[in-house]
């Protein structure tokens, strides 16, 4: 293959046409290739590469309400963002969110997968019930949470239940001390995404060879914890790594539920909500917004790489 390419390029550059048939074949190939791949590549250049490059340029300029700025400010936007109390606290908000959501999602979706996988009757019913919330958007779920469960007045479901035990109403979304707002924020995401990760775990569980379980049984392993600890969990390694990484990346990009549940408030504002506010709000500060977005992108990529390194993504490939 590479030899024939070389011949063709040589022929093309020297203008020799000793083997016109071969030459035509290669030219035909590259034409076909570009017919198939070209439209996609053009779109990717315009809507993926161009925005990133443009954003990189903007991040070095003062750019209020304009995408074609003229005042170069060097690294000032980056310095501003990295010393901006609000931006830093949004990274803190994200960290707290991730500390809750990543382990909870991991443990609960694995638990659901194990439960569903061990059920002998109506298994597909249970799987469907847990998977169904994936059909709902974050907007839909946030509306239910905000207006019907955690609305902070008596007719909300959470306060109704508390009322049965004689407990006073709690203003879930606006109470900062103690920070009750984390309860709706975390549970809404759990409801939406557990079924999705459960499906990944069920697929992982079904790839485990039954022979391993039989061997463990013959060896007299305790069928509960020992089998789980020494067979199921190690065999789920690749799935577990995927679930952790996907989940953490998704958490970094949390926007929808924060925006719809509590809006742009300073006590619980993840990075994307803050960046949305400064770059597309009343003052369109695209310079600082771009710098913040790039800082966030670098953090996400570093964390992903670090996590892959720690969990050995390369070893776990399947």
């Amino acid at each position: 293959m590479s030899a024939s390419v070389k011949t063709a390029t040589d022929a093309a550059t020297t203008g020799e046409r000793r083997r016109p048939k071969r030459h035509k074949g290669i030219a035909g190939n590259s034409l076909s290739f570009w017919l198939f791949v070209g439209p996609f590549v053009v779109g990717l250049l315009v809507f993926s590469y161009l925005p990133i490059i443009w954003s990189l340029i903007l991040s070095f300029f003062e750019a209020y309400n304009t995408a074609t700025p003229s005042k170069f400010v060097g690294l000032q936007n980056y310095v501003d963002m990295l010393t901006d109390h609000n931006f830093l606290s949004s990274l803190g908000t994200f960290t707290i969110f991730a500390v809750f959501i990543v382990p909870l999602t991991f443990v609960l979706s694995l638990a659901l997968a194990l439960l569903v996988n061990q059920v002998k009757i109506a298994r597909s019913f249970f799987r469907s019930v847990f998977f169904l919330p994936t059909a709902c958007s974050y907007v839909v779920a946030s509306l239910i949470w905000r207006l019907s469960i955690f609305n902070g007045v008596r007719f909300g479901l959470a306060n109704t239940v508390l009322g049965w035990f004689g407990i006073d109403n709690i203003a879930w979304l606006s109470t900062v001390d103690p920070p009750w707002y984390w309860l709706p924020l975390v549970t809404v995401r759990l409801w939406l995404q557990l079924g999705f990760y459960m499906i990944l775990f069920i697929a992982g569980l079904q790839r485990i060879s039954p022979a391993l379980y039989e061997a463990a049984y013959v060896d007299g392993a305790n069928p509960g914890w020992q089998v789980f600890r020494y067979i199921t969990l190690p065999q789920l390694r690749a799935t577990s790594v995927a679930v952790l990484i996907l989940n953490l990346i998704a958490a970094y990009q949390a926007f929808d539920e924060f925006y719809n549940l509590i809006g742009n408030v300073n006590y619980a504002r993840p990075p994307l909500v803050y960046l949305y506010g400064i770059s597309l709000g009343s003052i369109q500060d695209l310079g600082h917004g771009s710098a913040g977005a790039l800082i966030l992108a670098v953090i996400i990529m570093l964390v992903t790489l670090l996590q892959s390194r720690i969990f050995g993504f390369g070893k776990a490939g399947d």
Binding site: S32, V37, L58, F126, F155, P223, Q253, S279, L280, I300
Partner: protein, 294 residues
């Protein structure tokens, strides 16, 4: 797919046999399952209850389990509300969902096929350039993408909602991997008969890959229908709102008609619940094949 077929009849992890501990464990498992089912279905119950209630029912101090008088009139009230253009928003979402899905699959499948099957000396470099975009977290690019789209004059238009989302490096990657595993013999037979790449792709490869297309289409459609950040950024006037943006605006409006809003929620999830009912097999395949949703 093969894995799930193989294991449908597989003995489950041997355990909780006939001992007392085993029986208690089984009972506890069933209790856990039951609680989980109730919690997972609870929000759906709330949607139905609130959508068919009067405002007074919903805000009554005592919980009404289900309205005694089902308010089907809430549907017409929702569509006649002049403050929120719900019909327009549903139309926009349908167009974005259908055209966005069709366009993304068309572009990504052709790119994936070209990368997998057509020998070209720079194919590797182009493949790496596509995969590199997977490293960049999608949501971080919404500010720069907005800049590009606004300089094209596409803000508040269906073009702006759809076209920038069509070029999914991840979908192209998945298609390439899939086509690499497609049986070559089928294609070669057609090539011997004189078909070019185009003919082979459309007449042999696509018709034989419909389950894979269906799986990705179901996931992509759901992602498009439910996406919020990009439509929020682009839909700056109400004629270009998608259903998600319309509902979100609804809730932050000065006066909320809570029963109307929940009717909107019920209407908005209906297409997806139907997809779940009829295409769940493809969806689950799609999720396990791609391991990613949006």
């Amino acid at each position: 797919m093969a894995a799930s077929e193989r294991t449908t009849g597989t003995p489950q992890p041997i355990g909780f046999s006939r001992t007392t501990i085993g029986r208690i464990g089984t009972v506890l498992r069933w209790i856990a399952l039951f609680i989980a089912v109730v919690l997972f279905l609870l929000p759906f119950y709330l949607i139905l209850r609130n959508a068919l209630s009067t405002e007074a029912d919903i805000t009554a101090p005592d919980w009404t389990l289900f309205p005694s008088d089902l308010q089907w009139g809430n549907i017409s009230q929702l569509f006649n509300d002049t403050e929120v253009p719900i019909a327009r928003a549903l139309y926009n979402s349908a167009v974005v969902g259908i055209l966005g899905t069709a366009g993304q699959l068309l572009l990504a499948s052709m790119a994936g096929y070209g990368l997998a099957r057509i020998p070209y000396r720079h194919a590797d470099k182009i493949f790496y350039a596509i995969v590199a975009t997977l490293m960049i977290p999608a949501a971080v690019t919404f500010i720069p993408s907005f800049i590009v789209v606004s300089s094209l004059g596409w803000v508040s238009s269906l073009r702006g909602l759809i076209i920038p989302t069509l070029f999914s490096g991840f979908a192209a990657f998945l298609f390439r991997q899939y086509f690499l595993g497609f049986p070559k013999e089928l294609e070669e037979a057609a090539r011997v008969d004189g078909a070019g790449y185009f003919g082979v792709f459309w007449r042999i490869v696509v018709p034989n890959s419909l389950p894979f297309f269906a799986a990705l289409a179901a996931i992509t459609f759901i992602g498009n229908w439910n996406s919020f950040l990009w439509p929020l950024v682009i839909g700056q006037d109400s004629s270009s709102w998608t259903i998600q943006v319309a509902m979100s605006t609804f809730v932050t409006a000065q006066t909320i008609n809570i029963h109307e809003l929940f009717m909107a929620v019920a209407v908005s999830i209906l297409p997806l619940v139907l997809i779940f009912a009829f295409l769940q097999r493809y969806l689950i395949q799609g999720v396990t094949q791609s391991g990613i949703k949006d």
